[in-house]
Every structure is written in C-alpha cells, then in structure tokens.
Amino acid sequence: MHDVTMSALHHALRGLSARQRTIADNIANLETPEFLAGRVDFESSLSAAVQAGDPGAAEISTSRSMAATGVNGNNVNLDQETLTLIETDLRYQMTSQAVSNKFGLLRTAIKGGA
C-alpha cells in the first residue's frame, strides 16, 4: 500500500492543497496594499524525488511573486489566480480519484480471493 505511486499521489495532494490555500490567501488580499501574491511549487521537487525513487523526500516550497505591482504595491492578478484555482481544483479532484482507484484495486484483490 505504500508503493512509489501512492506516495507520489499523496505528496501531490499535499502540494495542490497548499497551492489552493495560497490562492485563497491571494484572493482574500486582492486589495491589500503592499501585498505580494504567494506562489507554491511542489512539482519540481516531486519529479526529482520520484526519479530518485523516494517520493517521501519531496518538498513543498512557498515563495512570493515578483510580478509588477499596481499603484498600491499589490500584485495579485485576479484572472490568473482564478484560472490557476480552477486548474488546481481539477487536478486535486483527479488525484483524489486516482488514490481512490488504487485503493479500489487493492480491495478487489483482497476480496477477490474470498
């Protein structure tokens, strides 16, 4: 149950969840002066860890966007955040489904012998 794929999927869920929380924070701070949008990256760490065969060692890194700011020092771009949020949510649902499917296969294997 703890094979490489399941470990990688679980880490992806953590990373996507962190990204979703960051986008939520960005949108809540749409009009906050001097606010720089947050960014999350887990994909590069995860693919490197999977290549090395140990997805458990992957990390989630947070940073601030250095995009151009508006007059009040805020650089949250609502259109970009909305699109990224939609993409993140769809990927989260897909990854959850993949985890569920793997569990389903295991369950079939266990019950199938009975």
Partner: protein, 106 residues
C-alpha cells in the same frame, strides 16, 4: 511382480524429525528476522494496529480542528480499513486451511 523390501535408502538421505524440530526452534529464538507463519501473523497484526492508531490520531486532530489537509485523514482511514480486510481475509484462509487439514481422514 513381487514387491521387494525397500532397500537402498540410506539414513544420510533423510533428516530425522527430531533434528528438524531443533532447527525450527533455534530459528524462532533468533527473532531478528520474521520466520515462521506465527511471526508473520504477529508482524501483520502490529502493522494493522499501527495503521488504526494513525487513522485514530488524524481523526482526533480533524475533530479538534487541527488537521489542515482532510485527505491525510481519508487516506489513513482507507489504509486502516484495507489492512483490516486483508488481515481478516488471511485469517479466514488460515482457518479454512487448518480446518481442511484437521478434517482429513487419517
């Protein structure tokens, strides 16, 4: 054709039962590696208990509002559930095998 006596089977070719029993018990005493079906079952039950504990701990954190990622709980709960089903299935098979052996006519 006449059935002759069984000859030519030297005592070196087979290991007396007593020696086998000694080897098995010395292996069981060296518990650094799982040996024997009994040790394997106990190891599996320990893993099962650990899976349940993990799921319970995460459930408590979810209930008290400390769990930020709900998928951590649902994955742990599913793993505990599957581990339980697997243990039950193995136990059932073992009991079935034992019963069918005991029912063999002597």
């Amino acid at each position: 054709m006449p059935i002759g006596p069984v000859a030519g089977v030297s005592s070196a070719a087979f290991t007396p039962l007593a020696t086998l029993a000694e080897t098995a018990s010395t292996r069981g005493a060296a518990s650094t590696q799982p040996s024997g079906f009994g040790d394997a079952v106990i190891g599996a039950l320990d893993d099962l208990s650990a899976a349940h504990n993990t799921a319970d701990a995460l459930a408590t954190r979810a209930a008290t509002g400390q769990l930020a990622d709900v998928h951590d709980y649902t994955i742990a709960a599913t793993e505990a559930s599957l581990a339980t089903e697997l243990t039950v299935a193995v136990r059932n098979k073992a009991v079935e095998a034992f019963t069918s052996i005991m029912n063999m006519p002597l």
